[in-house]
């Protein structure tokens, strides 16, 4: 049996692999969307935070012998705290200004973070071993799927769903959404908005950090791992439209899959396929697939 001219086994295989990649896009664009939502800041440092998350896991293992499962908890926490500090120290001063300044500031921050890690650890990259529990691979019949990758898909979808639920279906989420539009007024209703904002940035950062830890065993942990990814994630966000959380998750997963298939049909274009899709989507739906018209 063949689908689109490729054997159906390979097709399913590529689909699974696309999902793995999409899982990272989804988690990163989710964090971006959450931060953008409440702070009106396009967090350019998101890629750098993702990198810091991966490094944190690696350092924990390398220097203190902290295992993967603890790192999965501790590293995002650490990145989250870093995020809160950044928000309190820098971003706080930018509220009420043109959102472009937030973009530029976080761009500067990403350069600093990247530079410091590069200085400290070089660029050639560090290896992070797959945790023992998830070693090996499962034969799905149509492909051999390493267990770890299956776990990545599962974990990230679970995280995305939880985040979506919190934001769209809970009271806290309603505060967040309202705070996005008029934080001062929400505060005047009795909600501790400054705290909420710091924690939101922290949570967005932690999501990036978590994605970093999940990615560490799959790819090389290098200071540059975030800066290339972030641009693709931006495109994902533009395609999905920042309007909806679920939108960014679905778009992220979907584009991962599309990119995966491009690698089979026309690998030369796999780097730019996301950007091409972005251009097309913008032509047809300027607000993005899930965005609300302004």
């Amino acid at each position: 049996m063949e689908i689109f001219g490729i054997p159906h086994q390979a097709f399913l295989g590529q689909l699974m692999l696309g999902l793995v990649n999409g899982a990272f896009y989804a988690m990163l664009s989710l964090g971006l969307a959450v931060i953008f939502g409440l702070l009106d800041i396009v967090n350019f440092a998101h890629g750098a935070l993702y990198m810091v998350g991966a490094f944190a896991a690696w350092i924990m293992l390398d220097s203190w012998g902290v295992n993967y499962w603890w790192a999965l908890l501790l590293a995002p926490l650490l990145v989250g705290v870093l995020g809160v500090i950044v928000e309190r120290l820098f971003l706080k001063r930018l509220y009420g200004l043109d959102p472009l300044y937030g973009l530029l500031l976080t761009f500067g921050l990403s350069l600093i973070l990247e530079g410091v890690f590069r200085r400290q650890y070089g660029v050639s990259g560090q290896s992070y071993a797959v945790p023992e529990l998830l070693e090996g691979a499962t034969n799905l019949g149509f492909m051999i799927l390493p267990n770890y990758r299956a776990w990545v898909i599962f974990a990230s979808i679970a995280i995305c769903l939880v985040t979506w639920y919190v934001i769209e279906r809970t009271r806290l989420g309603a505060y967040l959404r309202a705070g996005t539009e008029n934080a001062k007024l929400v505060q005047a209703f009795g909600v501790n908005v400054p705290l909420m904002v710091s924690l939101t940035y922290g949570a967005g950062a932690a999501l990036a950090g978590l994605a970093g830890v999940l990615a560490a065993p799959v790819i090389q942990v290098t200071p540059l791992m975030g800066s290339n990814l972030i641009i693709v994630v931006f495109a994902v966000v533009v395609i999905g439209g920042m309007g909806s959380i679920l939108g960014s998750v679905i778009t992220g997963l979907g584009l991962g899959v599309v990119e995966g298939f491009t690698r089979v049909f026309y690998p030369e274009a796999s780097n730019i396929v996301v950007f091409v899709i972005m251009a097309i989507v913008l032509m047809l739906r300027p607000a993005g697939l899930f965005g609300k018209e302004a």
Binding site: A10, G13, Q14, L17, G18, V20, N21, F24, G115, R118, R119, G122, V123, S124, G125, Q126, S127, A129, V130, A137, M143, I144, P146, Y148, R149, A215, V218, I219, Q220, T222, L224, M225, N228, L229, G260, R263, V264, P267, E268, S270, N271
Partner: protein
């Protein structure tokens, strides 16, 4: 040119970016070590080392080179990593007529279509890597090849060069897949390779791409089905991948720290300072500086043309290479090696990664005069 004042040697490399580990600040230190070991003086003039970070930007490299030559009366320039910057520096030094030793550039253009009477290409080039990797493996029975190629100029030329070698030695290429630069995920490319039933998977990529591809290959069990060859792999990359993952990988290089006593001596000194072993480029940095100073000593002047002439006629003998010479096109002709990464259990000391598979003499490793477009060779 004046013959007073300090003798200035310039070293421009990537100190902070993609290739900083294989050369970078440690490479600069090697140049300084050579100067120190030489005695800090030549022809009774103090030797000064100028270093700069080109950040992988050709224009930074070129402007720095130009500025040093114009305002500091630079005697000789050493170019570190990255082809683009080295080609740019070669352009400047050709115009300004100064000896230029390119260490870490991969592109064979430096001694081929873009050759210059002032350039010496010191360590390796992609043609040599392809030839060394290719011919030895095909001879060892790996007939069916599949390429995983980085989709840009250097990847393409590596693949093309290797393909020629494979075919010339009676092998076949059953397929290839191109992956983008800095791809974060190689699994789907590898899935395609897996379906090819080739004997050998050749990775025509470098640095982070190679490392990620290698790790994924291990994860998906490809290393069990076929051999893997890295066409441009430095020891630092193997270190990154981890011996466990890289086991069995075939690698071509111009030098390995554990190849003989002299090398080990150099490596130990390096290790004491940097807590890692030197790459072939770092070794070449030292060697090139030392040999340049010897040439200056011999001709008794820093006059660019005279020193350049000596550099192109002398014999090179040190821990880095034996009986090597520079061809008219600027190509340093020396032995190249094919190594195999040891099994994890056989790797006894830190960074003890390779065992020697084959040694290929320079005239078989590099572009032959017949293949070359360099006019300097046709004279």
């Amino acid at each position: 040119q004046n013959n007073a004042g300090p003798v200035r040697i310039g070293f421009i490399t990537d100190m902070s970016s993609l290739y900083a580990d294989i050369d970078g600040p440690a490479g600069a230190e090697m140049v300084k070590w050579a100067v120190q070991d030489f005695g800090g003086k030549v022809l009774n003039r103090p030797i000064e080392v100028l270093t700069a970070d080109h950040q992988n930007k050709a224009d930074v490299a070129a402007s720095k080179a130009r500025e040093w030559i114009d305002s500091q009366n630079l005697a000789m320039l050493i170019g570190g990593t990255s082809s683009g910057t080295n080609l740019a520096m070669a352009g400047v030094t050709k115009e300004k007529k100064r000896p230029f030793i390119s260490i870490g550039a991969g592109s064979a253009r430096l001694t081929n279509e873009d050759c210059s009477p002032y350039t010496i290409h010191y360590a390796y080039d992609t043609v040599a890597l392809a030839k060394v990797g290719g011919s030895a493996l095909v001879k060892a029975g790996a007939k069916k090849w599949y390429f995983l190629t980085a989709d840009y100029a250097f990847g393409h030329s590596l693949e093309a060069d290797a393909t020629n070698v494979v075919k010339a030695n009676g092998g076949t290429v059953v397929g290839s897949v191109k992956h983008p630069l800095n791809a974060s995920d190689f699994s789907s490319f590898l899935l395609q390779a897996q379906g090819s039933k080739a004997d050998i998977l050749a990775m025509a990529n470098a640095g982070g791409d190679f490392v990620n591809a290698m790790k994924a290959a291990k994860e998906f069990g490809i290393t069990k089905q076929m051999k893997v060859a890295g066409l441009l792999v430095f020891i630092n990359d193997v270190h990154s991948v981890g011996v466990k993952n890289a086991e069995g990988l075939q690698v071509a290089d111009s030098w390995y720290w554990n190849q003989d006593d002299e090398s080990r001596k150099f490596a130990k000194r390096f290790f004491d300072k940097f807590k890692r072993m030197p790459s072939s480029l770092q070794a070449a940095d030292y060697s090139a500086t030392m040999n340049y100073l010897k040439a200056v000593q011999k001709v008794g002047t820093t006059d660019a043309d005279k020193v350049n002439g000596e550099l192109r006629s002398m014999k090179y003998n040190d821990f880095y290479h034996k009986n090597a010479t520079v061809r008219a096109d600027g190509r340093m002709m020396h032995d190249m090696y094919l190594f195999q990464v040891k099994a994890a259990k056989d790797s006894n000391t830190p960074w003890d990664y390779y065992k020697l598979v084959a040694k290929v003499p320079g005239d078989q490793a590099f572009t032959t005069p017949a293949e070359s477009k360099c006019t300097l060779l046709k004279k």
